[in-house]
Amino acid sequence: MYEEDEGGPEVVKRFCYINRKAPYGTVYAHEMLETVLIAAAFEQDVSVVFLDDGVYQLKKEQDTKDLGMKNFSPTFRALDGYDVEKLYVEKESLAARGLTEEDLVVDVEVLDSKALGEIIDAQDVVISA
């Protein structure tokens, strides 16, 4: 582990997670969320980006009962408890799917693709799935 006995971690890098896939058709979204939580535990500077079908991960009122799968969308609301507060959603991806910020389970910053590109460009580590 990198945490010292006192104070913060030795190195803090900007970790950015890019979610591009819908929440239940594949396992990527669920497993990616586990990685986000670990990076936060290492006290890194974490951002999470949602674009393309990844915006569906944040859709309100997900009901997975008939799928037999766990609805993990409430975990996004718990992220600020892990000091993960930078959640970005691509404006074009929302619009293309008929969604607005009101449809999402958590407060996010909605940015157009150019502004989002600048944020991603400023990261040290970018992990996408």
């Binding site: 990198y2 190195v11 970790f15 497993e31 535990a41 580590v125 970018v126 799935a129």
Partner: protein
């Protein structure tokens, strides 16, 4: 330069592991270092010693193990992803070890770049 690597797909359905292997080879040939490769999602299947491709096909499970032995690369398989897919220590190929996601975050912190290979 030091490259950490993340492989998110298994050895056959997707090209990710092949591309990653060739990237690692090329980087090492150019004098760079690859201290750690982390296997996540279906990427954990790269560590299954029971995998038996046909004899005229490449065997990425063995190739990764050989590369790791030659160049002292730490091949780490995510424990949670591995357990979901039935991969445990008793079928783990030589050169791999099972550990937690923290090893991926460390690879991001410790290296100059983290290269992600996936679908």
């Amino acid at each position: 330069m030091k490259f950490g690597m993340l492989i998110n797909e298994g050895p056959f359905t997707h090209q990710a592991s092949d591309s990653a292997y060739r990237f690692a080879l090329a980087a090492i040939e150019k004098g760079h270092e690859v201290p750690r490769v982390f296997f996540y999602h279906d990427g954990v299947n790269n560590a299954n010693t029971l995998s038996e491709p046909q004899s005229d096909d490449r065997n990425l499970v063995k190739l990764w193990g050989q590369l790791a032995a030659e160049h002292n690369i730490d091949l780490v398989v995510c424990v949670a992803a591995a357990l979901r897919r039935g991969l445990k220590d008793d079928i783990l190929a030589e050169g791999f070890r099972i550990s937690g996601l923290g090893q991926l975050i460390e690879a991001g912190i410790d290296n100059d770049r983290l290269m992600v290979f996936g679908d």
